[in-house]
Amino acid sequence: MSALRRRKAGNIVMLALTYVAAVLATLPLLFILFHLLQQGASTLTPDFFTNMPRPVGEAGGGMSNAIVGTLILLGIACIIGLPVGVGAGLYLAEKRVGALAMTVRFLSDVLNGLPSIVLGIFAWQFLVRPFGRFSALAGGIALGAMMIPLVTRTTEEMIRLVPNSLREAALALGYPRWRTSLSVILRTAMPGIVTGALVAIARIAGETAPLLFTAFGNAFWSTALDEPIAALPLQIFAYAISPYDEWHAQAWAGALVLIVIVLIISLAARHATRARFGSAAD
């Protein structure tokens, strides 16, 4: 009987260890969120959103230029990433098993796994070097390229969730294929695609590495697309590695703003999916 007891004891120990793993895995997140609130909240005044960065020693600086810069970069990224991603997703969902579809699907996964810094080098070589200056446009294009594989995959998955009978009904009513796809299938899948787009935006909103080579950062107010532009993650990085306490405080406040933006987008994405597809999409 002792063998059975040993097996039962082992069972309890191992099951308990998985509880420990679950606790350990959630701890870092709670620590990070706690420290962000603790360090960043006191610097986070309305001035932070409306003021420009100030030199060390002057109180009351903010990151208005970086916040606006990040929004501009995200806008450019969406203009590039969304149409390409949705178009490629439509192709993959309709072709399913063709040789080209399989290849594109695989390569889109590979692209998704590439380090973001590699996309920065790509944009730098083609969009910064030939023109001799860093620009918001190059940064937005690098981020847009990062969005493409994310949007492609969610679009494909969401379109596949649309019942085939819907397509057949539209075709039976004499709709051309292209109108069936665009105004029936795509429209039905739209909430899911919006969710995928939001997830992609949340992911690129905090990207820093590709911007080092492209948007570069800017201490001044600039919204010109062919000039270097400030971005929230770049500003956080610059302040975090500086030796000044005031700037460290600014970095924490900036990080808090960035994480709140990312969390709001992520939560909105989850909400949109749940409202449309219920638990099926989870």
Partner: protein
Amino acid sequence: MADASAPAGASGGLGSRRRASILAGVARGDRIYQVAITAFALIIPALLVLIAIAIGIAAWPAFAAAGLSFITSSEWNVQAGKFGAAPAIYGTIVSSLIALVLATPLAVGVAIFLSEIAPKWLRQPVAFLVDLLAAIPSVVYGLWGIFFLVPMLRDHVVPFFRDTLHLGNTPLFSGPAYGPSMLAAGVILAIMALPYISAVTREVLLAVPRSQRDAALALGATKWEMIWHAVIPYARSGIIGGVILGLGRALGETMAVTMVIGNRPEISASLLAPGYTMASLIANEFTEATSDLHLSALMAVGAVLFAITLVVNGIARWLVWRVASEPRA
């Protein structure tokens, strides 16, 4: 198409010519649509090719100047124009391995917890919290690493290993511990890779058929024996795929590592010594690179990183895909 339908059109209310022109319009619309979505799909392979070309062009001068010694030499001396990337390659591999050693058991444990053990009400919230780790921007991890993780490792964890466990004389924990180190980079990478590994593992565990579990339980296995002998082996190659996917993330991670690794191009056996990774080397020196050769050397480091992650991701995707496409029992 228009010819075949012409008689039917003639007998109906619609004039046959008008009907033919409508059908031709439909066919044209369909053709344009097909061409458009195919073009969008082709952008993805084209983008990869362009990335490869861009990096090739940028890296070529450095490869041409240094040859094979670019990868084998460990002398990275900007003033002397000597560029050997071995310390960065070494640092990339070591920091990623530390990350995997720390993250894999935790991630697999969480995935087992979520798919097999946790009560239903707990699954959603815990899964959500773990997934959120993937949403935190790299630069925020770096900020947290500089001001909390690095001091905590230096003041509490390292003394524990050295004094309590008496490991101070082993090469791994020798030398001064200033703070920024290979260990710090490995720990932060472990936290960052964890959600990716656990998400894939959870997915493949959920794909294991119910009958597999029922059979083990029917033979009298305890719950853990069922998991260990019936579920894990079935999902093994998928889990390995997830781990390699996490490795791909860790290899290319830039900002958080740059901020905590100490950025020194030296190979040291001690985990407490500062180091460099390929990505952090590029990020750290890019703004101060003035000579063309220095710039090109940084891009060549990027080319090596590109090649390594390409291979690693290819293997990972293939493994995960193989499990997902296996016939379900």
